[in-house]
Structures are given as structure tokens and as C-alpha cells.
Symmetry: C2
Subunit: 386 residues, 2 copies
């Protein structure tokens, strides 16, 4: 079967992370993503560790794309972009609001060039509102969304997640929005604007924390690895390393206590109910760890999971990516990059049984496909007048 | 224009969070999501703060859906589900692997009932691999993915994010995968299986941390709010509260120093380059804070942003959701629930200009639409033989 998104042509004006992640998701499922770069290239070509002349950061987020160099300060190259837009399905950009317009491509013109075009913008704060023109950055979205205020240890400061999750969540929402707009186009025949923001993405990721805040007016406290309203729950010591134990309901707590030989706790009024256990979290932890320290983590992880109790080690990146389950999910791939060796990168996190993602080409050299793509679009490049 | 996903019928067998979030995203864009609940209902109906008889947690993640009660332990109700599947476009489930099969609906049967059906599974570890049958939970996916190992203060323990981001990311990936599979169906005429996992989702969200680890073999250290390879960067004190300052490149650092009247630092070899500044992070912080403490955060936030330096306060949930930018993005909505008052909840983080998301109906009462939906599907329910 053809790739899920084959036949969809994407003009990709994005740089660095949120936009390239969005278009990588589309490219991995078969969209023809044409990365338009200035003569200097996407900045990530020079960011992070360079091995055999290649940034592994750039390689990871630009696989399956083709690269075309256009200098959008030049009128001739703007004209080429306009011709390409006429024949594209999607245009994605992550400039600050107003930049695409300043380049001569306001939405009204894009729509006039191609009424079927889906135009997706990814940015920090959106195209309206008081902070529209502020520079954004992952850290800023984490700080302003409330995410940091909920993340961290009890009694400690608010902490930003090291992973730039607001970039990635905004990029993923954008990819979802683009597919929804393409589906709308199947029926209406017309494109539209799609916008995803780092701030909006982070605000949407609170799960039950948001409704609890709205219902009670009380913001969630930082509780580190403990759960604000469940006990036992958290990290527990064993003979060697800590394990995460997450009994989400009473039935699982009973299984946990049975597996530990601590059934007597359920007969003790001090530990019989979750409400009482939350009050005695530390005493309960001590009673549980007194059993857990008798054997190593691996034994407990096997035993508790077999008993139906969610339990896991806390893995660093080396262990996490080496883990047999991560490998079974295809989350580590080695991509041959001719001239640069093989590049290890993260796989694709969604499985489609009939139209799976595929590595069709490595991340492109700067401008590698300029001639090929312009020929496909039937655009001739004038000789450089400079 | 019609809603983006109007005409798409989704049979929703999911419970609690990852699945309901996925189907909420589809429902918000106009899909007809039919939530199948057992006689006891989705557990979230009884979780979290109940106001005027309604769980605000349930209300937030089940808006725009209809509820049909089927007892899948009964053959008669299984037969009804089979009839509904024949006429659906999508089926979504977040049982543990094997449960849907045990209920009598292995994929081969689903495909036989309806070759056009897209069947989406959301679970912790996926349908293969050594941990397939382990119980999963957000905390477990955060621990095993390496996310926790990167999250936390320098010198402190690994910390789980309080927001259940692995549930939400898996749900969002699933929604993206479903739309991709529906697009594939436009061309092939056939449905397929889609799978998103909490573990895979978390492994995909490292941004540059993953390629840096793969390229160097060195796992990223926990650095709290400091950046491992940039300085200045982080939280800084002002006259009243801390601000997040994120100058991502040298040009922005120069703007920051200019705005603070600290241009002299760039002439000082101890601070002229990022590499030197990272070595003197604390001295640099002291020099910057000596200026910042002269005025309150609000003044600095306005001034630094005007100078092009990403800068923000660290907001708690009350401030974050009350912020004018969050409101401009429509990220707070009040939904009238007849009989239960108005329920405040998070908005929808993607804007589609021509086919925007809409609140068409509040979260359903248990079984509210059983008769209506069964009639639409042309299924008659036998009288209850019990």
C-alpha cells in the first residue's frame, strides 16, 4: 500500500525544532516535505555535536525531507516560492507572527495563489493577544503555562523540564491540525489557516490538574514523585536501586500489600484507607521499604508487575533507549548518511499496520534537491544576477 | 463550512485519560464520538472533585461526545457493538493488550465486520515486546522513558512531572495517527490498525537531548532551570519575583546585556563567550541580579521582551489560566451543563480558521444517548432478559 500521506506536498519554511518536528511527522508517513532553506541553512545544521560533518540534531529532525535553497530576500526567489505554492498542499512556517507577511506572503496572497493550500503557523503565543510579538522559547512557554509551577520537588523551586516539550507538543498539535484541515478540504475543496502555539500546547497538557484547579480554585502543589492524593505512590528503595510504584486504585494497593506480605496493614485502621495512608505517607514508605530492601529492584519489578502492580525502574537515557521494550517499539533507528556514517536517532512513535512510517531518505544536504524540485514544479531558476 | 471531521463516526471504548483525550480531540473538530460505557460508567465519572453531581475531570475530557451504555459481558450487547462497528469509521480502545480480543473482537473480526474501519489502540507498552502485559501508568512511562532522569534540580533526584504527560502525548499521537489512517483510506478504501504507546510517546519528546546523547554517548545531566550549555539562562531574581530569561544565542545575549546596562561584560574576557560564561554561571547570575533587583518583574518583562529577549514570569495555574494571552487563545471555556451548572475547562489548542473547534454538547450523562444512537445505527435492543 502507498504511504499514508503520499501525494501530499508540503512547503516547509520552518527552522530549528517545533516546525521541523511537525514536518518530520508528516514526512515519516510519506508526505513530500520540501524544506526551503536560506543560503545559510537551518541553524540546527550548526547546533549540537557534529560527527563526520553532520549535526546529529539536524539529522534527527529532518529525515525524509528534501532541501531547496531559496534566498527570500531576493525577488527572483520569492517568485519561485510563489510558483511552488501554487502547486503545494500545505505550507508550514514557524516564524514570529508577521514575518511571512513581511516577506510578501500574507495569507490573502497565499489563498489567492492557491485556494486549496493549508497554511500552518507554529509559534509561541499565537497571531493575536497582548504577547503576539514577544519572542518565545520553550523555557518561556513552560514558565508562563503553569507547567513549571507544578513540576518539582515538595518544598523546592518550580522546575522546567529539560526536554523542550512545548516545542514538540506544539509541533505535534500542528501536524494533527494539518491533517484535520486536509480532511476538511476533501469536502470543501478549500484550504485554511492552522495555528498551534507553544503556550496553548502546554496549557492543554495538565490532565486532571486543570479540572481539579478549576473545580476547587486551589492550584496543585509541587509534590515531586509523591502523588498529591494517593499513598503509597512514588519512588521506593530496594536492595540496589529505587523503583517507581504506582498503585492507582484500592484494588492495586491490595495486590501490592499482598505481594509484599503486608496484608496486615489493611487491617490496621491507620492504613486501611487511602485518606489515612496519605496522612502517614512516610511511615508507610518505611514499612514498604523494609520489605523491598531485602531484594534487588529487578526481582521486585518482575514480581510486582506479575501481580498487576505498575512498577518500573527509573532509567537514564542510555538504559531507556537500550531497553528491549523501546527496541521492540522501534524507537531507536540507525540511519545511513552517505559521507557521514550512520546516525542513530529516535524512531516514530505511532504504528500504522498497513502504511507504517519508513525511512525513505536521510536528512538532506543544504540545497541537495534544489534543481530536482524546481524541475518537478516546472520552475526555471534565472541565472544568478549577482 | 462543515466541521473538519464531520461525518466521521468514532466508536469510543476508552476510559480515564489517554483514550478519552484522543477522542476529545476528534470530537472537538466535529467527529461523531460515541462513548461506549459499561453500566458502571467511565471511572472518571467518580474521580476528582464533584460539583453539583458532576466530576469536572470527566466533564473536561468527554465534551462533545455521546454516551451509550452497553454491557460487554452480555452477548446481546456484544452483538449490538458488532452491528455498530459495521457502520463506524474508527474504533478507539485503551484496554491492556488482549482485552478487546478476549471480549470477542480480535482485529481479524473487526476487519471482517468492516474492512474500512480504522482501529486505534492506546496503551502503555504496545502490543509486542517483553512488557506487553505489564500494567502501565503515567508515572511508569515517565520513569522508564528516561524523562524523569532528565527532569529535576542539579544534584537532586529524578522527578516525575505532575502533569500526566505520557497519557496526553500518547492520546495526541493516536489522534494524529487516526487522521493519517483515514487519509490512507481515502486512497486505498481500507482501514488499518493504529497504535500509540505512552512509552513511545515519551521517548519521542526529548528534542535535542536524544541526538546529543546518541552522538556523544553522554546522558544529559539534570540541571534544573539552568541550561546545560548556555549561560546566562534560567530564573533570576528581581525586586519582587523571579523571572525566566532565555537568551538562546549570542545576538540575544548582547541585547540582554544592553538592556541591563551590562555591555562591559562582553568586553571582559571572563564573560565574552558562552563557553567562558558557562564556567562562571553563578558570578554572572550575581551581576545580572544586581541590576534586576532594582525594579519589579513586570517592568523587566516588558523591557526585555521589547528588546527581543525571551522573558517571562513563572506563573501558577491561577495566573496562567487568567493571563490575557491564555484568554486570547481561547484556552479557558465555561461550558453550561444543564442540571450541573457551568463547568470551566481547558480550551482547544489548535486553531483552524475555516473549521474551528466548537462546543456542540457538554459531556454526556451515562447512557444519555443509548436509544438515540441505537436508532441511528438501526439496531434494536432486545428487552433485558435479566
Amino acid at each position: 500500500m502507498e504511504a499514508a500521506l503520499s501525494g501530499i506536498r508540503v512547503i516547509d519554511l520552518t527552522r530549528v525544532l517545533s516546525g521541523p518536528f511537525c514536518t518530520m511527522l508528516l514526512a515519516d508517513l510519506g508526505a513530500d516535505v520540501i524544506k526551503i532553506e536560506g543560503p545559510e541553512g537551518d541553524p540546527t545544521r550548526g547546533i549540537g555535536t557534529i560527527r563526520e560533518g553532520l549535526s546529529w540534531y539536524f539529522a534527527a529532525f529532518n529525515r525524509n525531507k528534501r532541501s531547496v535553497v531559496l534566498d527570500l530576500r531576493r525577488e527572483a526567489d520569492k517568485a519561485i516560492l510563489a510558483r511552488m505554492i501554487e502547486k503545494a498542499d500545505v505550507l508550514v512556517e514557524n516564524f514570529r507572527p508577521g514575518v511571512l507577511e513581511a516577506l510578501g506572503f500574507p495569507f490573502a496572497r497565499l489563498e489567492a495563489l492557491n485556494p486549496r493550500l493549508v497554511v500552518c503557523s507554529i509559534n509561541g503565543f499565537g497571531d493575536a493577544g497582548p504577547y503576539r510579538d514577544r519572542p518565545a522559547f520553550d523555557f518561556i512557554a513552560q514558565a508562563m503555562s503553569g507547567f513549571m509551577a507544578t513540576n518539582g520537588e515538595e518544598g523546592g523551586p518550580p522546575v522546567r523540564a529539560a526536554a523542550p516539550i512545548s516545542d514538540l507538543a506544539a509541533g505535534l498539535y500542528a501536524a494533527f491540525g494539518i491533517l484535520a484541515a486536509l480532511r476538511a478540504r476533501e469536502r470543501s475543496g478549500r484550504g485554511q489557516r492552522v495555528e498551534a502555539t507553544m503556550l496553548g500546547a502546554m496549557l492543554s497538557l495538565f490532565g486532571y490538574l486543570a479540572p481539579e484547579f478549576f473545580a476547587t480554585g486551589k492550584p496543585p502543589p509541587r509534590t515531586g514523585n509523591d502523588h498529591p492524593i494517593l499513598a503509597p505512590y512514588g519512588l521506593f528503595r530496594t536492595a540496589d536501586r529505587e523503583i517507581a510504584v504506582a498503585p492507582a486504585n484500592e484494588a492495586i494497593v491490595r495486590r501490592l500489600f499482598a505481594a509484599l506480605g503486608l496484608e496486615r496493614l489493611l487491617a490496621d485502621p491507620r492504613y486501611a484507607t487511602n485518606a489515612e495512608r496519605v496522612k502517614r505517607r512516610e511511615e508507610l514508605r518505611a514499612a514498604i521499604e523494609a520489605v523491598l530492601v531485602r531484594e534487588p529492584a529487578e526481582a521486585w519489578i518482575a514480581r510486582l508487575n506479575a501481580a498487576g502492580v505498575p512498577c518500573a525502574p527509573v532509567l537514564g537515557l542510555p538504559e531507556a533507549f537500550a531497553d528491549p521494550q523501546a527496541r521492540a517499539l522501534g524507537m531507536v533507528v540507525d540511519v545511513p548518511h552517505p559521507g557521514h556514517g550512520a546516525v542513530r536517532m529516535t524512531g516514530f512513535p505511532v504504528r500504522l499496520s498497513a502504511t507504517p512510517w519508513a525511512l525513505r531518505r536521510p536528512a538532506p544536504e543544504l540545497g541537495e534537491h534544489t534543481e530536482e524540485v524546481l524541475a518537478e514544479f516546472g520552475v526555471e531558476r534565472p541565472r544568478d544576477p549577482r
